[in-house]
Symmetry: D2
Subunit: 321 residues, 4 copies
Amino acid sequence: MRIGILTAGGDAPGMNAVIRAVVRSAEREGHEVIGIKRGYKGLIEGDFIKLTSRDVGGILDRGGTILLSSRDPRYKKLEYREKAYKNLNEQGIEALIILGGEGTLAGAKLTAEETGIPVIGVPCTIDNDVGGTEYCIGYDTALRNAVDAIDKIRDTASSHERIFIVEVMGRNRGFIAVEAGLATGAELILIPEERFPREQIPEEIEKAKKLGKLHFIIVLAEGYCRAKELEDFLLEKIGDKYGEIRSTVLGHIQRGGIPTHFDRIMGTKFGVVAYESLIAGERSGFVAYEKGKFYIEDFEKAQEYKPIDREAYKLNTRLAI
Amino acid sequence: MRIGILTAGGDAPGMNAVIRAVVRSAEREGHEVIGIKRGYKGLIEGDFIKLTSRDVGGILDRGGTILLSSRDPRYKKLEYREKAYKNLNEQGIEALIILGGEGTLAGAKLTAEETGIPVIGVPCTIDNDVGGTEYCIGYDTALRNAVDAIDKIRDTASSHERIFIVEVMGRNRGFIAVEAGLATGAELILIPEERFPREQIPEEIEKAKKLGKLHFIIVLAEGYCRAKELEDFLLEKIGDKYGEIRSTVLGHIQRGGIPTHFDRIMGTKFGVVAYESLIAGERSGFVAYEKGKFYIEDFEKAQEYKPIDREAYKLNTRLAI
Amino acid sequence: MRIGILTAGGDAPGMNAVIRAVVRSAEREGHEVIGIKRGYKGLIEGDFIKLTSRDVGGILDRGGTILLSSRDPRYKKLEYREKAYKNLNEQGIEALIILGGEGTLAGAKLTAEETGIPVIGVPCTIDNDVGGTEYCIGYDTALRNAVDAIDKIRDTASSHERIFIVEVMGRNRGFIAVEAGLATGAELILIPEERFPREQIPEEIEKAKKLGKLHFIIVLAEGYCRAKELEDFLLEKIGDKYGEIRSTVLGHIQRGGIPTHFDRIMGTKFGVVAYESLIAGERSGFVAYEKGKFYIEDFEKAQEYKPIDREAYKLNTRLAI
Amino acid sequence: MRIGILTAGGDAPGMNAVIRAVVRSAEREGHEVIGIKRGYKGLIEGDFIKLTSRDVGGILDRGGTILLSSRDPRYKKLEYREKAYKNLNEQGIEALIILGGEGTLAGAKLTAEETGIPVIGVPCTIDNDVGGTEYCIGYDTALRNAVDAIDKIRDTASSHERIFIVEVMGRNRGFIAVEAGLATGAELILIPEERFPREQIPEEIEKAKKLGKLHFIIVLAEGYCRAKELEDFLLEKIGDKYGEIRSTVLGHIQRGGIPTHFDRIMGTKFGVVAYESLIAGERSGFVAYEKGKFYIEDFEKAQEYKPIDREAYKLNTRLAI
């Protein structure tokens, strides 16, 4: 069998582990793997490359994706998808493994339906917000990066007894904010899912300062509001009464770096399950991980709302005293 | 209520997160926490210290244990335990939270039985080998340390095209070896649970070299054999035919360093569950984590044999090609 | 002798190494050290604390400053300085060691002149811009932080073939930008000291893309212009013709984290020299480091313009091909 | 001009930065660079590969050496060198740049003398023991690795109040031991250059324990004695009177990992100087760095004894109180 593989949307650390696992599993059993470059863009433009076990040597600990990635809105139009399908056909690609977030998996679903060839998705996104699966590749590394950064900021926040707003990724969701906040003992976590009233923040700061805390760190998911906005609000309300107010946006550093052992191991397992499912006859769906088990889930599930760990969120409030 | 807390046996990164969670949860609800220093030693010798929320500030990201730890064989003798119980009584300690591995939890069980006061254990050991719970605090950080070290060794192994034996912790068990090996793409993993025949190793090395691999890394759990022994065996069998042979013992660096976000978060959760179980009336058992759930498990379970992830072990063999 | 010590202005990793070295050197020879909290603020407000060898144990590898820091503009006014001098007198402080950047050292100079007690400065600033000394404590750690962050960004920049603007600290100076750019092989470094014409940037990007580079990373000192401004300029000029354009501001993460071995060693040496100079009878000046030698430099020198390593800047241009 | 480049002896982090700088500098000015694989072995066996600017992209932050390395004693024999010279001649190689430690530079000297072609050496060794130059590429990264490891060990040493012996690299020299000891505040540093009397160690331990120190860390250069030997000696003399005694050998992890910013920057500068010296007509010698300046030094100098920083050694003794 000739299997195509692509990575689309935002890159996620651990994608290379998935690619390596697919290529080596397939080669071992006599199948061929074709890398498609830059996600759906390469599918449309026919940018293909053969991948062997040696090509994926030494990539387990590399961030990003060796296949490159992009967001190509053209894939939403039938005319471009048909172009892509023609390329698949010409290259003799009989099955696809597609890595990415929910947008990418929606494209994978369409592709499975319209081509009739088996398509298996692998949820990869640092936002961890794909429905139907506890874990998405890249999240653990993003969390490590956010925690490393907040640890650093705490040093300077303490030395200057500052109120510090740290904006982490999460356009609509608070996954990174909740766990990074809990891991760093942040004084306050602000997420879109639990709209802590902005007006109460000054009171929280006052309470903490009375307890003798040197700093007050707010971990803010970008989906709650932007850091600058909150900084301005607090400046207006409390000025520097409880210490200077500073804000920082962690941004793209959350996305890179050497993948954690967890993302390398999970990436490897997700990749193997994707490959084995294909071989076992699966025709459509994505690899999901729940309670220690891997299985293939319907593509629709990926779009479902995935709740955050509300317990963890509450826990932090209780412990940040 | 006055709650005593102690850490015994080998220290594990994340113990401080457990201590912090217990102290802050208790103080919030009006209970008092007494730290017992150096594990059972401090219990016998009456080395107690009051812990407040401020005392546990800034310890979430510190390795080791602020309560200090030791192995004190005297606690196996009734006369010393009675001395300890007298101390508990005099201090008015009405409940205990005890952190450590299986040996420590065995002591906790005895204490619960003999004193009649509630005793809750928290499994903390980098070996991850306590039965009845998927996870033990400290394991994730130890894994990170092992993986970081193997990543470094691979650089030099590749440059010199060497065969490298890296001995990781695991006196009887292969937990660290299997996952560290998988995360680093080790060419071979040797663990006590799966006795890969030593005689076949030269053959594996030959195969890998024929595939064009620059290095051959063996991740060895100390329970399989010691690094030096394997090095001598290979030297005798193959000399430097396939590259120079080197070995290294990671040792105590696996135990230290800033706890990972996972150990900080899990430590916090384990600590909260330990405290809440006490308050809810639990009288004996340890906090266990299985398939995303926390609960109290009987102390006996801690001594049960906990199987390694055999799938992960096999996976590595298949992918290291 | 009773020696006062304070840290003022922006905190710098390695300040704790200086404090430790002063306290331990002094205690060893029978002198006493008084810590003054929050810089000149604590001097004005009389916030003093005795420091012993044990108080400075375990701080060598801690970021920030255990003495806390602040910027207190009141110290520019004579009435507040007189209040401070009164405090010094009352406390029996016979000499001062003052850690900080050029603003802080200007205050140290005034203090020496007006009180007549010996005052020794230690240049500490991540900007490395104090005149008269090759090195300022904190710069090496800031550089490590910036390089770590750019390494991470490069992963995602490559995967998406993006043009990435990374803004690093340096309000008026390009020290961090030049060395961080050189260490990461940035495609372009923009600093206030060498005003590379903005209009030529699109051309540079085109050249690099023609050479087959996947990404184009611009390391930008904030003193050249702000990241957003450059992003907007490039968007207007070239849109996404050569790849998407992104920008990120590293901000405060540059300031924190475990001090590097270099800052710990240099901090220790600066601290010892400061102490020994006092004992040897120096009355005014700051510790300078040039070409492997430490000596006491006049305070005026601190305000002099310190040139960047122009060779390094040019080197990068030549090698980024 | 066609320039050959090779890396020999122990690999050192930052060698890739040197290679990149040479290749890009040369290509820019129309010269060609030929990589010789596995050091002198590749020279003897004619294992050559063309290197272009693209081949050295993305290697700045990679440990080890992309050219591979080895120790080949055959190069000490004229017959093999003549074979090598024939290869050089056949390949039209007109000049050589050779990276390595003092052994490697001795080979470079011979090659320059016997072939008459220009040969420039670059001192690369984590031991930092090449004479005539303050700095050798790789030392800073090795130091970082050693300090990271000792920081980790201190966590567990403190928690168990242990005496810990940490053996670092340095067969004949104490460079790493002195600076790693100073950066971590080790209680004792043992190096071959200053034979601290073994009999006095128990006394030092007693003193520290009386001061209230939780741990006692000995940083031991392997050239003083081996860790096991010292452990046995201390066990015999003091048993566990002052805490349990443990030892660990850092070994090869000191050699690997992402090169520090300093090794990347210095590697780049050493490489450029090597190339430019060749172009400027230098015929024999190695790049040396002293007091902020780079120049070409006679090969003989490399063999000279280079003193350690005795001040730093003494400093540590004074501050470890």
